[in-house]
Amino acid sequence: MRRYFGRKLLIYVITFILAVTVDWAIPRFMPGNPVEILIARAGLKAESAKLIYSYYMKAFGLNVPIWRQYLNFWIALFHGDLGVSLWLFPQPVMKIIKQAVPYDILLLLPAILLSWLAGNKFGAYAARSKWLDNTISPLAYILQATPYMWLGMLLAWLCGVRLHLLPFSGAYSNAMMPSFSWSFVWSLLQHWILPFASLFIVQFGGWAIGMRNMIIYELEADYSHYLEALGAPRKLVRSYAFHNALLPQITGLALQLGAIVGGALATEIVFSYPGIGFLILQAIQNHDYFLLQGSCLFIIIGVLLANFLIDLAYVLVDPRTRVGMQGEE
C-alpha cells in the first residue's frame, strides 16, 4: 500500500516538476519580448517608452540570467506568487485566477459529477437489452463525438437567440454585483444552465458508452455466470456487474479530467463564462505570458490533484488494489 502510494506520488511529483518547467520554459524560449508588447499596447510616446522599458524589465524579473529566472519562478511559486499580469497590469496573476476559479468549480464540478453519475446509470440501463442498446448507444456515441463548442453554439443559438429562453453569456446579469440575494442566485443559475448543459451532454455520452461496454464485459465474467447458474435474480447479477464496472470508470474519470478541462475551456469561450478557460483565451489573445503560465499551471495542478484524490478514493473502493498492490495495473 505504502509502496503503491509512493509510486503514485513519485509520478505526480515528476509530472508536476516537468509540467511546471515546460510551462515556465515555453514562453521564455519563444520569440518576442513580453515587455515590448506591454509598451506597444500602452501606446506610449516613443520618448518615454525607452525609460519605461527598462523599468518593466526589472518589474517582471526579466533582467536576470535565465537560470536565476527559473529559480525565482519556483521560489515565487511556493509563495503562491505567479507574477504580475501583462494584460491586466498591475494585477497579480494569482488574484485574477482566484476570481475565476469559483466559476470553474461552479461549472465543472456539477458537470463532471452529474454526467458521470447519470452517464453510468444510463449506460448500465442501455446494456440491459439489445433493443435499448441499439437505439441509445449510437446516440451516446454521437453525443460523445460532439465538439463541445459546437454544442454550445447550437444551444446558444436555439435556447438563447431563437427562443429567448436563457441568457448565454457571462456568469450573471450585468445589472448585478455578486451578493447573497435571491435575484442574484437566480441570475447565476440562469447563466449557468447552458454552459453546464453543453458540458454535461457531451460527457454524459462518453460515460454512458464506457459503462455500457464495461457492463457487457462484466456480465460475461465468470462470477456473473456463477451467480446466474445458482439462480440469482438478474437484479443481483446486474448490481454486481454495475459495481464492478464502476471501478474502471473511476480511473477513467481521473484520466479524462484533462480532456474535460479542455472541453470546459471551449465551452467557457462560447459562453463568455468567466472561468479559467476564458482567462486562458484572453491571455493568449493578449499575449499575457504570465497569466497564461499561471492559468495553465493552475489547471495542471488542479488536474493532478484531482487525479491524486481519485487514486486515493480508488484504493478505498477496490479491494484488488488494496490487497494486490503490485506492479502491474
Binding site: 520569440p31 515590448e36 506610449l44 518615454s48 494584460w87 491586466l88 498591475p90 457571462g170 476564458f278
Partner: protein
C-alpha cells in the same frame, strides 16, 4: 457598494475594455479602466475635433503671453470628490510628477523649463523650445490628480500602481467593479453642475468588458448595452432591422472617421525599396472592394494623403491632384512593366528585375477579423495586377515583433488617431526611427529615411497653432514628399465605431442638424474630446 442597478438610471457602455478593469491609474495610458480619465480624472480643456475648438474645462483660460510662456488660469470652485479643493498646486504637482518619475508625458520636460505659480488660480509655464502643436495636445490629454493623495504614493506606485478607488474631480465616482464591468456612480457634487450648468443624466455608467464581437452584438441588439464602441461586423445590415439602433451618420459610413488604416511598406527590402514598385502596388489595391465587402460601407476609402476628413483643410489639393494615386489596375500593370518587372516564368506574377521570384507577405494580427479579410482582399487585387502577396496572420506578438525589427514585407497599421493637429499624423509617418532603439519604435515602421521630412515634422511642431498658413505650408511640403516617395499607402478610415441603442436612452449624438455633435466614444482620450458632454445630453426613455 450597490448590488443591483436600476436599468432606467443606468447607461451601459462597452467597447473600450477588453479585459476586466485592472487599474485606475490615469498615467498608465495603456490599460486604465474606462473613464478613468474623463469620468473620474479631468483635463484642463476639452477638445472638439469636429470643430477644432478647445473648451475650457478645469482651466478657465490659457494663452501664450509670449512665445515661450504659457499662462494658465484655473477655474475656481473646483473640488475633488473627497471634498478637498482642486487648486493650481494640484496642476503644478501633477505635471511635475513627470519630472520625478517616468511617465508618458515625461518627455515634456525636455522642452519645458519650469512652472511658476502666479497666484491662487494662475500658473506660468516657461519653455526652452515651445512645441506649440504638442503642447495643445497635452492641454486636453493630461489628467490632473490630487496632490494630497498622490504625494503620499511611492514613485513606483505613481508610475505603475493600480490606484484602487480613485479620487478625482469628474462627473462620476468610482463605485465598484468586477470581472465583467466597471461601475461609475454620478458625482452629485460635480463642479460643472454649478459652474457650467451641466448635469450628467445616467446615475450609473457601467462599462461592460468585451468578451467577443458576437457577445457585444447580442447585447446591443437586445438593448442591454446602450453604447458600444466595437467594430461589429454585420451591424450595417441590422440598422434597419427594427433593433432600435442609432449611428452618428444615418447612412454610410455611419461613423466618424477616427484613424487611418494604411499599408506599411518595408523600404529596406527588395522590391519595396523601388519606388516604381510601390507605385504599382498603390495603383493595384482595390480599396473600394474592402470598403464595400469587408466593411459593408461602414468605413470610407482614405484620401491619397491619408489625412482624416476633419483635417481636410490641410490637404493640398494641388499636390494630391498631381501626385495622388488611386486604384487603377491597368496603370499598375503599366508601371510594373515600365519599371522592368515582368512575368518571366509565366506563373501569373511578375518577377524581380533580376528574375528572382517575388512573394510578399502581408501581415495582420491573427484574430483581427476585419483586417484579416482586408489583407485577403489586398492580396487578391494585387494578384490581379501580377503582384504576389500572401496574407499571413501571425499573432499580435509576432506582428509587433516583425514591425519593430523590420522583418516584415507589408503590414496593415493604424496608429495615428484623431487629434488636435496633423502633426501627430506626420510625426508617426516620418518618425526618425534611426535615433531610437527598435523596442521603442514610435512609428515609421517601413524605415523611411529622409532627413528633410523629419526636419519638416519638427518644424511643424514648432509652428504656432494659430498660424494656419504656416502650418499649411509645411504640411504641403510633407504631402509632396509623402506622395512622391510613397513610404506608406493610406487605405481607409477606421471609424469611431458607435452603435447606440435607443431602447433606454435617447438624444444620442448625431450628424443631423440640431442634434448634439459630441463624440459618442468611450475610448481612452475621447471623453475629453467631448464624449463627456454626450452624457449631459442623454435622456432616459420612459419605460412602460
Amino acid at each position: 457598494a450597490t448590488t443591483e442597478f436600476p436599468r432606467s438610471q443606468t447607461l451601459y457602455t462597452g467597447g473600450k475594455q477588453w479585459g476586466p478593469p485592472s487599474n485606475w491609474n490615469p498615467f498608465m495610458t495603456g490599460n486604465y479602466a474606462t473613464g478613468t480619465i474623463g469620468l473620474c480624472y479631468e483635463t484642463l480643456f476639452l477638445y472638439d475635433p469636429l470643430t477644432a475648438k478647445f473648451t475650457p474645462w478645469l482651466a478657465s483660460s490659457g494663452k501664450w503671453t509670449n512665445s515661450t510662456t504659457y499662462r494658465l488660469v484655473l477655474r475656481s470652485g473646483l473640488a475633488w470628490s473627497d471634498g478637498k479643493a482642486l487648486t493650481v498646486d494640484d496642476v503644478k504637482f501633477t505635471i511635475e510628477l513627470g519630472k520625478k518619475t517616468t511617465l508618458n508625458f515625461s518627455s515634456l520636460w525636455s522642452w519645458l523649463t519650469s512652472i511658476t505659480k502666479v497666484n491662487s488660480t494662475t500658473l506660468d509655464f516657461k519653455f526652452k523650445t515651445p512645441l506649440y502643436q504638442e503642447w495643445d495636445n497635452y492641454l486636453y490629454n493630461l489628467p490632473i490628480v490630487p496632490q494630497h493623495i498622490w504625494s503620499t504614493k511611492s514613485l513606483t506606485d505613481v508610475a505603475t500602481g493600480a490606484n484602487d478607488k480613485p479620487v478625482g474631480s469628474g462627473a462620476y465616482l468610482y463605485n465598484t467593479y468586477d470581472q465583467t464591468k466597471m461601475v461609475w456612480e454620478k458625482n452629485v457634487n460635480w463642479w460643472a453642475t454649478k459652474a457650467l450648468k451641466l448635469s450628467v443624466a445616467p446615475k450609473y455608467v457601467i462599462d461592460l468588458v468585451n468578451t467577443s464581437n458576437e457577445n457585444s452584438l447580442g447585447l446591443v441588439l437586445q438593448g442591454q448595452e446602450d453604447l458600444n464602441n466595437n467594430y461589429l461586423p454585420g451591424i450595417s445590415t441590422l440598422l434597419t432591422g427594427g433593433y432600435a439602433l442609432h449611428t452618428y451618420y444615418p447612412s454610410a459610413p455611419y461613423d466618424i472617421a477616427a484613424n487611418t488604416a494604411w499599408l506599411d511598406i518595408n523600404l529596406q527590402k527588395k522590391p519595396m525599396s523601388d519606388l516604381a514598385f510601390r507605385k504599382a502596388l498603390a495603383y493595384g489595391i482595390n480599396v473600394a472592394d474592402i470598403v464595400s465587402r469587408d466593411y459593408n460601407n461602414m468605413v470610407s476609402a482614405a484620401d491619397p494623403t491619408g489625412l482624416l476628413p476633419m483635417w481636410n483643410k490641410y490637404v493640398d489639393q494641388a499636390v494630391v491632384k498631381k501626385l495622388g494615386i488611386t486604384y487603377n489596375p491597368a496603370k499598375a500593370k503599366q508601371v510594373l512593366a515600365a519599371a522592368g518587372y515582368k512575368d518571366v516564368n509565366h506563373d501569373g506574377f511578375v518577377e524581380n528585375k533580376d528574375g528572382t521570384k517575388i512573394a510578399l507577405k502581408l501581415i495582420v494580427p491573427n484574430g483581427w477579423s476585419d483586417w484579416m479579410a482586408a489583407a485577403q482582399m489586398i492580396s487578391k487585387s494585387a494578384k490581379a495586377v501580377g503582384i504576389n502577396i500572401v496574407a499571413s496572420y501571425p499573432d499580435f506578438n509576432g506582428y509587433l515583433d516583425a514591425r519593430l525589427k523590420g522583418t516584415f514585407d507589408l503590414a496593415i497599421d493604424n496608429q495615428a488617431n484623431v487629434s488636435n493637429s496633423p502633426w501627430t499624423y506626420y510625426h508617426f509617418i516620418f518618425y526618425d526611427q534611426l535615433k531610437d532603439i527598435p523596442t521603442t519604435q514610435g512609428g515609421n515602421y517601413g524605415r523611411y529615411n529622409n532627413k528633410t521630412a523629419f526636419a519638416l515634422v519638427t518644424q511643424l511642431d514648432k509652428t504656432k497653432t494659430t498660424d494656419l498658413a504656416a502650418m499649411k505650408a509645411v504640411i504641403s511640403k510633407l504631402q509632396t514628399i509623402q506622395l512622391t516617395d510613397l513610404p506608406m499607402i493610406p487605405l481607409w478610415y477606421n471609424g469611431m465605431w458607435a452603435q447606440m441603442s435607443t431602447t433606454y436612452w435617447t438624444n444620442w449624438p448625431s450628424s443631423v442638424a440640431g442634434k448634439n455633435h459630441d463624440l459618442p466614444v468611450t475610448w481612452n482620450g475621447y471623453w475629453n474630446m467631448t464624449a463627456i458632454l454626450m452624457l449631459t445630453q442623454l435622456k432616459a426613455v420612459k419605460q412602460p
